[in-house]
C-alpha cells in the first residue's frame, strides 16, 4: 500500500459511514463492559434488526468516551446534528434509544448527558481525539480519520533528523512521569552508532488508579503503532516492542489485531508504505511487576529475565535491549506523535504552559462526582479538574487532598488547588505528574493511612536488588503501621523522616527513589495528623482503629489482655 491507496481507503470508508443516517457508538472499554456494556450493545443490534433499520442505523463498538463512572455510555451521531451522550444505559434504554432517537429523532430524556457538561467542555482532546469515535478493531475507521497519513508524510517529506527536530520543537516531554524531553531522547538514539536499534513502548502502567495507557491502547491502538513507526523511522530502528501490562488482556488483543491489520496492508512490516523503511512491532505481555515500569527493568523483562533494574549509565539510548541503543517512551508519549506530525510542532507548542506543552490524560477517580478519563491542556488548575470537570466532592463533603503520581507521587492539599498542573509545579509541591492517576480524597481519608497504603505497595513491589529500597520500605511501612495502630512514639516519626531521605537518595532506581514521596508530602501538609495519631492516639478521619499501645503501656495492657483471653 502506498499513500494514494491510503487516501482511497479513507475516502471509501468515509463514504460508507456517510450512508448511515445515524450511528450508535457504544463504548467497549473495560469499565463500560464491566458495567454491562456488552449487553447494551447486543440490545442495540437486536433492536435495529427487529426494526429492519440496518441500512440506516449502524452500531459501532468504540473505545473510551471518558465518563467511566456513568457507564455504559452510548453516543448517538445523527448526520448534521451534535453528538448526544447517554449514561448508565441498560438494554431497555438501548432499545428505547433505537426506537425513539435513532429512528424517530426524539432523544430519550432520562439518561441524557447534557452536552455542555463541564466534563466535556473543559477537555482538549489531542491524544484521545479518536477515542470513543472509532472502532479500535477496524483499521479502516482509523484511516478514515486521517490515520497513517502522518507516517506517510514523515516517510516521504521528512528526514529522520527533521522528525527529531519537529518533536523537539513541539516541546513534548515524556508522559511516563519524569518529563524528559522526548525530542532529545529520540535524537540521542538516532545519533547512537549501531546497526541495530529498538523502539519500546512502555505500556506497563502499574500505578494503582491509573489507566490512561490502557484506554489509549484499547481505544486507538493504531495511533500508538503509528507513533512507534514514526519513532522507528526517526531513530533508525526496524524493530519495536510494546510491553503491555499483564492485567490488560483487551489492550493486548486489540494491539495484536491492529498490528496484523497494519502488516497486512503494508503499514507495518517490511517496506512500510512502499518506502525503504521496514518496521515490525511485537507485543510483550507483562507478568505483574510494578518495577517493570522502570525502563531498565522493563528491558530485562522484555528479555525474559527477572525485572530488576540495572544502574544507569549506560542509558538505554546507548545500550539497551541486547546491548543495542533503545528508545523507550510511554504509550501516551507515542500517542502524541501523530498530532505533532499532523499539525506541526508550532501548533502543538501552542497548547499548554511554557515548559510543559500539549495535553495530559488523567484518570480521575476517588471521591469525586464524575470519575473517568479526561484529557486536559497542561496548565489547567487542579480546581478546574476536581470541581469543574470532576463535578466536586459527593455527599457535600470537604475536599482534603488530590493524589497524583501514584506510589511515586504525593498528596496536594486544598490550599494549592489553584496550582497549574504541569511537571514543575507538581514537583515543587512534593508530588509528581506521574503517569496520570489523579485520586481525589475527602475528609474521610486519613493521611498516615494513605501513606501506609502506598508504602505497602512499594514494599510489595520492591524488586529486592538494593538494600535501601528492599529493607527501607519495610521499615518505613512498619513505622507507619505503628502510627496507624496507636503504638508509635515521636522517635518513630524522626526515624521515618530520616529513612525517607536516605531511601530517596540512595536507592538504585526510580521505584525506591520515589517511594518516600507519599510520606514526605503528607508529612509536609498534614503533619498534625501524624502527631495526633502518636501523641493523642486519635484518628480524625476515623479510619485507624488504634488497637495497639506503645511498648511501655504493655505493663498494664498485657496482663489485661491475658486475663481477657483466659
Amino acid at each position: 500500500m502506498n499513500r494514494a491507496d491510503l487516501q482511497t481507503m479513507a475516502q471509501r470508508e468515509q463514504e460508507k459511514q456517510a450512508r448511515f443516517q445515524c450511528r450508535l457508538l457504544c463504548c467497549a472499554s473495560t469499565p463500560c463492559l464491566s458495567s454491562g456494556g456488552a449487553a447494551v450493545q447486543q440490545a442495540l443490534q437486536d433492536a435495529i434488526k427487529e426494526s429492519e433499520a440496518s441500512a440506516e442505523v449502524a452500531v459501532v463498538s468504540t473505545g473510551c468516551m471518558g465518563p467511566c463512572s456513568r457507564g455504559p455510555v452510548v453516543t448517538v451521531q445523527v448526520q448534521g446534528e451534535d453528538d448526544v451522550y447517554y449514561e448508565n444505559v441498560t438494554p431497555e434504554t438501548a432499545r428505547q434509544i433505537v426506537a425513539d432517537h435513532a429512528l424517530a429523532g426524539q432523544p430519550v430524556q432520562e439518561k441524557l448527558l447534557p452536552s455542555d457538561l463541564p466534563f466535556f467542555a473543559k477537555q482538549t482532546k489531542v491524544v484521545l481525539s479518536n477515542s470513543g469515535l472509532i472502532d479500535p478493531e477496524r483499521l479502516e475507521d482509523y484511516v478514515a480519520r486521517g490515520g497513517y497519513l502522518a507516517l506517510a508524510y514523515a516517510l516521504r517529506e521528512m528526514t529522520p533528523e527533521e522528525v527529531c527536530v519537529e518533536i523537539s520543537q513541539s516541546g513534548l516531554r515524556g508522559r511516563g512521569g519524569a518529563g524528559y524531553p522526548t525530542g532529545l531522547k529520540w535524537d540521542l538514539v538516532r545519533k547512537a552508532p549501531s546497526d541495530k536499534k529498538y523502539v519500546v513502548a512502555n505500556g506497563d502502567e502499574g500505578d494503582p488508579g491509573a489507566y490512561m495507557d490502557r484506554t489509549l491502547m484499547e481505544s486507538d491502538p493504531h495511533r500508538v503503532l503509528e507513533g512507534m513507526a514514526i519513532a522507528g523511522y526517526a531513530v533508525g530502528a526496524e524493530q519495536g516492542f510494546i510491553y503491555v501490562r499483564g492485567e490488560y488482556p483487551v489492550a493486548a488483543k486489540r494491539l495484536e489485531r491492529a498490528i496484523r491489520a497494519a502488516e497486512r496492508r503494508g503499514l507495518l512490516g517490511s517496506r512500510v508504505l512502499d518506502s525503504s523503511f521496514s518496521f515490525r512491532i511485537d507485543i510483550r505481555i507483562g507478568a505483574g511487576a510494578f518495577v517493570c515500569g522502570e525502563e531498565t527493568a522493563l528491558m530485562a523483562s522484555i528479555m525474559g529475565r527477572r525485572g530488576q533494574p540495572v544502574p544507569r549509565p549506560p542509558y538505554p539510548a546507548q545500550s539497551g535491549l541486547w546491548g543495542h541503543p533503545t528508545l523507550i517512551n510511554n504509550v501516551e508519549t507515542f500517542g502524541n506523535i501523530v498530532p505533532i506530525i499532523e499539525h506541526g510542532a508550532q501548533w502543538y507548542a501552542g497548547i499548554g504552559t511554557e515548559k510543559s506543552k500539549g495535553t495530559k490524560i488523567f484518570a480521575l477517580a476517588g471521591k469525586v462526582e464524575n470519575t473517568g478519563l479526561i484529557e486536559v491542556p497542561m496548565g489547567i488548575t487542579l480546581r478546574e479538574i476536581v470541581f469543574d470537570i470532576g463535578g466536586g466532592i459527593p455527599d457535600g463533603r470537604e475536599f482534603k487532598a488530590a493524589q497524583t503520581g501514584g506510589p511515586s507521587g504525593g498528596c496536594i492539599p486544598p490550599q494549592f488547588l489553584d496550582t497549574k498542573v504541569d511537571y514543575e509545579s507538581l514537583k515543587a509541591l512534593g508530588s509528581i505528574m506521574g503517569s496520570g492517576g489523579l485520586i481525589v480524597m475527602d475528609d474521610q481519608s486519613c493521611m498516615p493511612d494513605v501513606a501506609k497504603f502506598f508504602m505497602e505497595f512499594c514494599m510489595d513491589e520492591s524488586c529486592g536488588k538494593c538494600v535501601p529500597c528492599r529493607v527501607g520500605t519495610v521499615q518505613m511501612y512498619r513505622i507507619l503501621q505503628r502510627i496507624t495502630d496507636g503504638s508509635a512514639t515521636l522517635q518513630d516519626l524522626e526515624n521515618l523522616e530520616d529513612l525517607c531521605t536516605m531511601v530517596r537518595e540512595t536507592s538504585l532506581c526510580g521505584l525506591g527513589q520515589s517511594a518516600p514521596n507519599p510520606v514526605l508530602s503528607t508529612l509536609k501538609y498534614f503533619r498534625n495528623e501524624y502527631e495526633d495519631h502518636i501523641e493523642r492516639r486519635t484518628c480524625e478521619a476515623g479510619v485507624c482503629e488504634m488497637t495497639e499501645v506503645p511498648v511501655m503501656a504493655l505493663v498494664e495492657e498485657l496482663p489485661r489482655r491475658i486475663r481477657a483471653a483466659a
Binding site: 512514639t489 518513630d492 511498648v551 505493663v555 483466659a566
Partner: protein, 200 residues
Amino acid sequence: MTQSKSENPKKTAGGKKGQGSTQKVRLATVWLGGCSGCHMSFLDLDERLIDLAAAVDLVYSPIADVKTFPEDVDVVLVEGAVANVDHLELAEQLRERSKIVVSFGDCAVTGNVTSLRNKIPVDDLLTKVYHEGPGAVPRGGETDKVVPALIPRVLPLHQVIPVDAFIPGCPPDPERIWTAVSALLAGEPVVLEDRMRKFG
C-alpha cells in the same frame, strides 16, 4: 518504638560533681533478659575492680543485695534484652532514676540470643515450653503476677527507653568495659575504637 535519644552522649557521669569532688560516682548494674555473661566479664576486670571500687559506690547490682532500684544513680550498666513486663517496668524506673543509661553487651544492644524467640509467637512458645514439655503445667499460670508476662517481641533496650551509650560484645571483653567505664567516670563520652564496637 526506637527511643535512643543521642548518638554521642553529651551527658557525663563525673561532670556534675566536678573533678576533685570527694563524692563517689553512684554506679548501678542491672540484669534483664541475658545470661549474666556480661556481668561475669565485668568481674573479669580483675585488679581494676579495686580502682573502680575506689571511684564508685555500687548502689544496685545482681552482685549486691539491694532490693529496689535507688534514686539518683549516676551510671547504670544494663545487661540483657527487654523480654517481659518486669523488664519494662525496671527499664522505665532506671531511666527515671539515672543520669546515664548504658546498654551493656549484645543482648541489651541488639536483643542477641534472647531475641531468638522472636520468630515464634509468645503463645506457641509458652505452650511448647510449659504445657507440652516434660512436667507440663496447666495453662493460666502466666496470668499470675508472680510470673511476669512475656512481651510479644524481645526488644533491645534502646527501643524501650532512651539509651546514652552502647557497649556491644557477647560478652564485651574487660578491655571494652574498662574503656567505657573509665570514660564515664572521667566525665567523658564513651568512644570505643572500631574493634571494640564489634558485635558478638
